[in-house]
Symmetry: C2
Subunit: 144 residues, 2 copies
């Protein structure tokens, strides 16, 4: 069994163990997210899945992504391009700084937010789910 198929199977087992049905649609959507080396959109997942399973509907893609999000198997982020992108959670967490002027995207490590997370837990009794943020602003190379 190849690595990619093994990973897809494992995540599928997570669904099964939690009582969710393991449909061909779900397996293909999971595989598409896992196979993506970066951030993949619902439409991109849809066209990949449709190549192997033409009958599938885009609403199933959205519903499945919602399920996977709720189970913390994927993270979602809005990089400001008018559509949301998804990321397989096991591939590691990180955040993005997006310059509104020049469009540059700077990746930052997730532990940058640890102090904030701790403060929110200690002072506000709140467990913040900070795994894939997009923060807008201006890089210092851009004037004004």
């Amino acid at each position: 069994m190849k690595g990619k198929e093994k990973r897809a199977k494992e995540a599928g087992d997570v669904l099964r163990e939690l009582g969710y049905r393991l449909t061909p649609q779900r397996m293909l959507i999971l595989a598409a997210v896992q196979a993506s080396d970066s951030h993949i959109s619902a439409e991109e997942i849809y066209s990949q899945v449709r190549a192997q399973y033409p009958h599938v509907n885009i609403s199933t893609v959205y519903r499945t992504l919602d399920l996977l999000k709720g189970l913390s198997l994927v993270t979602e982020t809005d990089l400001g391009e008018g559509r949301v992108r998804y990321h397989y959670a096991d591939k590691g967490h990180h955040h993005h700084l997006i310059c509104e002027r020049c469009g540059a995207i700077i990746d930052v490590d997730e532990n940058l937010f640890l102090p904030l997370k701790r403060t929110l837990l200690k002072d506000y009794q709140f467990n913040a789910d900070i795994r894939h943020f997009a923060i807008f602003g201006r890089c210092t190379k851009c004037p004004r």
Copy 2:
């Protein structure tokens, strides 16, 4: 001149001074955002404006909000209800912690993010625009 009209006029002057045209639509949209005591949606602004100016179109509301956002006259935030809400910037900045289980919304002061802002500027040369965040997670009263 009443307070509300005065404020609307002042913000309008900002537009004029920057070379933007002061249309009735823009003045009414600005007034609606300023008059709101909390977070107002585009649809709510639209229906308020339409009461005085029936000819207006919803796309003008969105375009104007985009303009005001770019000029830092209003802030925008997505509280997870399927539509974005707006806030007059001069009324003060704050952030929201939203429990995904019970729906509770905890307001937090903006200076909670000052350490993070400083780190981003110092270590990543990035001026983060952190004025109206919504952070999702779980309040500690909610199990699991």
